[in-house]
């Protein structure tokens, strides 16, 4: 799949497998900047239930590199202990939800 080009000030989020089935979309645009740790909470408010059904077992990539997603990203007070841990998603970035893989 070729990632579509987002409108200015937005990033592209790609949905695969179970994330695609839950959202019924292959991709979607979100306003940038956004902390990577806030993304799952943003998705939960747009797609209620997606966190426990899908996201809890998923990894996240930003521009095709895996990034850390904090365990308790739903609670805003407890995001990251150190500032350097926080990945910020910028406009034009290609972000993807990566469910557990199953090739073979």
């Amino acid at each position: 799949m070729t990632a579509p080009c987002p409108p200015s000030g937005h990033f592209t989020l790609l949905y695969f497998a179970a994330a695609y089935s839950y959202t019924r979309r292959h991709s979607e645009y979100f306003e940038a900047p956004m902390k990577a740790t806030e993304l799952f909470a943003t998705l939960e408010s747009r797609y209620p239930g997606i966190k426990t059904s899908v996201l809890d077992s998923c990894a996240l990539t930003v521009n095709r590199e895996y990034v850390n997603v904090e365990e308790n990203s739903l609670s805003t007070e407890k995001i990251c202990d150190t500032v350097s841990d926080i990945v910020v998603i910028h406009a034009g970035d290609e972000v993807a939800i990566i469910p557990p893989v199953s090739s073979g």
Binding site: F16, A18, V54, P100, V101, S103
Partner: protein
């Protein structure tokens, strides 16, 4: 979607897989053995009958993951060549969904490398399998990780 470099070949395709083509990718006068693995689609999971399977992928990431696997397995086992090809889209039951071919000066390295390439691919490649059961049983996104039963795909 193909990536290749000095005896390393990885590919994702919506077409039927071709064993001879995979073998030819790794064939070499320096090799004393070619080991081929063909993964085929099974007609059941936990007693439920599977109608067909459908594979999807984050293609650029899967290509880059597979190329890393090919490179590391090849150098670790001193291979002459390695080819990893995975099929995408709908795969009818009983057909090949993955082909791994490795060539090596001696067979022992070939067996080990083939097994390792497959295990690494199953663990890491950004490819997903949807098992379609048909009727009311629906479909499930399978997960290779042990202990994971997969996520039902709502209609």
């Amino acid at each position: 979607m193909v990536w290749q470099e000095n005896g390393l070949h990885v590919e994702l395709t919506y077409d039927h897989l071709n064993i001879n083509a995979s073998m030819d990718k790794v064939r070499s006068s320096k090799a004393g053995a070619i080991v081929i693995f063909a993964g085929t689609t099974r007609d059941n999971f936990d007693g439920k009958s599977v109608k067909h399977l459908e594979y999807s992928s984050y293609i650029p990431m899967a290509i880059s993951t597979l190329s890393r696997i090919a490179r590391s397995v090849s150098s670790k086992h001193g291979l002459t060549g390695i080819s990893i090809t995975h099929r995408l889209g709908t795969v009818p039951i009983g057909e090949e969904s993955i082909l791994i071919a490795v060539s090596a000066p001696h067979r022992q390295a070939g067996w080990r490398a083939g097994e390792e390439a497959l295990e690494e691919t199953k663990e890491k490649a950004e490819i997903w399998k949807l098992e379609e059961f048909g009727g009311e049983d629906g479909a499930i996104w399978r997960a290779n990780k042990e202990g994971s039963i997969g996520v039902p795909a709502p209609r």
